[in-house]
């Protein structure tokens, strides 16, 4: 495995504010790597340190094995697709794409060839002479991607480029990004706050919270086995309860929930289960844990519904269930059973 980008104990402080806190991570050649985290978690700063727009306060960035300390952005083998694209408004589509080649003083013939090759890859052939302002949002994204790829950087950095697009266009561009990455084989480092986007695009995801990388893993790993409560919470909806472990079960507000994990008796733990892993029904048999409850809230979402189910006195648990038929949708006040098999829940440690 060739390592294209490596961060070694990198920190970045702005005054007394620690934006990036002792981050160490490796990005492998040819992978689609995502930095996922809520806004203000330091993911963009991390990307900017790779690009060379910020120098780390501590630690070191290596690209292709070379230390990058003191190397200005224009000498780094990285290119960025900016959040607001930063396309040159005074240049045509073709001139935008050719920019990086022109400043490298390549031969005219080669510039034209490579620009047209990458315009073809992003499927903008025929629009070479257009002005940037004459393009749609999605087309502008494609120009930005082609412009950044044309110089064949070691790693392409993408700073939430799909943010301003509407949902449909975003899904379309996600597919396009995947296709383009497969086609050119360049290493992609992608920054986003959208966990679905990160999960569906990436080979590996780094979850970043408050300047620290909390977990790095495949989408499946970070979703199914979050290392702590912050990751679990950020990676989509989840039910989390504090409880005490005792003989194969966790006691939560008087409710004994059987679990597979083994910890020593009396330990305080966080019990977590995702809403879609819980079954709901008027009658329910089979799962290891079955509880009786009352529906206290319903959110209809088209393909599925999310129910708030009150179990006993204090516990409200979220359950997501596909809407198989209109009759099968429960209403507030309905008496239901909820249940799950032991293996579907997790006991995790707490960050706080």
């Amino acid at each position: 495995m060739v390592i294209d980008v490596e961060l070694r104990s990198v920190s970045k402080r702005f005054g007394s504010f620690v934006a990036v806190d002792n981050v160490s991570v490796q990005i492998l050649r040819g992978e689609f790597f995502s930095l996922l985290g809520p806004s203000g978690c330091g993911k963009t700063t991390t990307l900017r340190m790779i690009a060379g727009f910020e120098e780390p306060s501590e630690g070191e960035v290596l690209i292709g094995g070379q230390p990058m300390t003191g190397v200005p952005p224009f000498k780094r083998p990285t290119n960025m697709v900016f959040q607001h694209l930063a396309l040159f408004p005074h240049l045509s589509v073709e001139e935008n794409v050719a920019f990086g080649l022109k400043v490298k003083r390549l031969a005219k013939q080669e510039i034209r060839q490579r620009a047209s090759k990458f315009l073809e890859i992003v499927r903008l052939s025929g629009l070479e002479k257009r002005k940037i302002s004459q393009l749609s949002g999605g087309q502008q994204q494609r120009v930005a991607i082609a412009r950044a790829l044309v110089t064949e950087p070691t790693v392409l950095l993408l700073d939430e480029p799909l943010g301003p697009l509407d949902l449909r266009l975003r899904l379309e561009m996600q597919e396009e990004l995947k296709r383009i990455q497969r086609e050119v084989g360049t290493t992609f480092a992608y920054v986003t706050h959208d966990q679905t986007e990160a999960l569906s695009l990436s080979n590996r995801v780094a979850v970043m919270i408050s300047g620290r990388i909390e977990q790095v893993g495949t989408p499946l790993e970070v979703y199914e086995k979050p290392r702590n409560d912050s990751v679990a919470e950020f990676m989509g909806e989840t039910n989390m309860f504090r409880g005490r472990y005792l003989d194969g079960a966790v006691e939560i507000d008087g409710l004994a929930v059987r679990v597979t994990s083994q910890v020593s008796n009396g330990t305080n733990v966080i019990f977590s289960i995702r809403p879609e892993k819980i079954s709901i029904g008027k009658t329910l048999s089979g799962p290891d844990n079955v509880f009786k409850g009352t529906v206290s809230g319903v959110t209809y979402r088209g393909s599925d519904s999310v129910y708030d189910v009150q179990l006993g006195e204090g516990i409200i648990i979220k359950v997501r269930s596909p809407n198989l038929a209109p009759e099968s949708i429960y209403r507030v006040g309905d008496e239901v059973f909820v249940g799950w098999n032991m293996g579907k829940a997790l006991l995790i440690s707490s960050l706080r």
Partner: protein, 294 residues
């Protein structure tokens, strides 16, 4: 009747806009268009002693071409004007750039400080340079004290150099504002994008900043170039014979020479040429871009 008129008036948007502009339109008509028309007319009349005779002739234009002093002086004026424009841009562009890109605090006070000469009396600036550049002036005493020269330099004042430096002082503040506005408005992430793509700071400036501020630069050029071509006060005070400009010639034909028709023809030739140059310059950017940059 009155009711009907008002209704009509309200419905016609163009009419309302026109009426809103009517004061300035009348003003322009009275104090700009009419005087220029009068000069245009005079340039085709002739003068006998002290009376102007409204009789069509192109004699004045023939005289403009015939007198060997006119065209060289006009070219000198263009040259001085071009030097002033270049010098002013050379001063104002870096200042505006620094203010827009490097300064974070106190932008507005600094901008106002840069524009201070703009509020200084024109004549005061001219006389200040007389004192600085004169035979017994500040610059000469400095040079003498530093023993760089043995005798005061008398080439400083009463030269095209004195005219150029004074006019640069007077006009460069005019440029700071449009250039600053255009640089400030520029999306700074474009420079990051340029550098990211491998452009050195110099390349980024030449390929991104300069083209994006080009319209403002053209406007700035016109701000300085157009009024300085016809300049006659500064050359009269600090120019000496070598700094004598086309504007002084026109002024002389009106005042001392008392030949209004000839003076008018000279003025009109200048006006026409400057207008053509202005239009050509504006065409290189396009009217939309110019309006945007203002």
């Amino acid at each position: 009747m009155r009711e009907k008129f008002l209704q009509f008036f309200r419905r016609k948007v163009e009419l309302r806009i026109f009426s809103g502009l009517s004061f300035s339109l009348v003003w322009f008509l009275l104090f700009l268009i009419v005087p220029i028309a009068v000069i245009f007319l005079y340039s085709f009349w002739r003068q006998e002693y002290i009376s102007i005779i409204p009789q069509f002739t192109i004699d004045n234009y023939a005289q403009f071409l015939a007198n060997p002093i006119h065209i060289p002086l006009f070219l000198r004026s263009l040259g001085i004007s071009a030097a002033v424009t270049m010098g002013s841009i050379g001063l104002a562009y870096p200042a505006a750039y620094f203010l827009a890109f490097r300064v974070r605090k106190y932008k507005i006070p600094l901008l106002l400080a840069l524009m201070a000469p703009f509020w200084t009396s024109y004549l005061l600036i001219v006389y200040a340079w007389k004192i600085i550049l004169g035979y017994d002036g500040i610059l000469n005493s400095l040079l003498l004290n530093l023993r760089l020269v043995e005798q005061p330099v008398d080439l400083l004042l009463y030269s095209p150099f004195a005219v150029i430096i004074t006019l640069i002082h007077i006009w460069s503040p005019w440029l700071v504002l449009p250039l600053y506005a255009s640089l400030e408005k520029m999306d700074k992430s474009l420079l990051e994008a340029a550098m990211d793509l491998g452009a050195t700071p110099t390349q980024a400036f030449l390929r991104v900043t300069l083209p994006l501020t080009w319209p403002a630069l053209i406007v700035a050029v016109l701000f300085v170039f157009v009024p300085t071509v016809g300049e006659f006060v500064t050359p009269a005070l600090v120019g000496g014979p070598q700094g004598y400009m086309y504007g002084n010639l026109i002024e002389n034909y009106f005042h001392l020479g008392f030949n209004w028709p000839l003076g008018s023809s000279l003025a009109f030739v200048m006006l026409a040429l400057v207008m053509v140059m202005t239009l050509l310059l504006l065409r290189t950017v396009g009217p939309d871009k110019v309006m945007e940059s203002l």
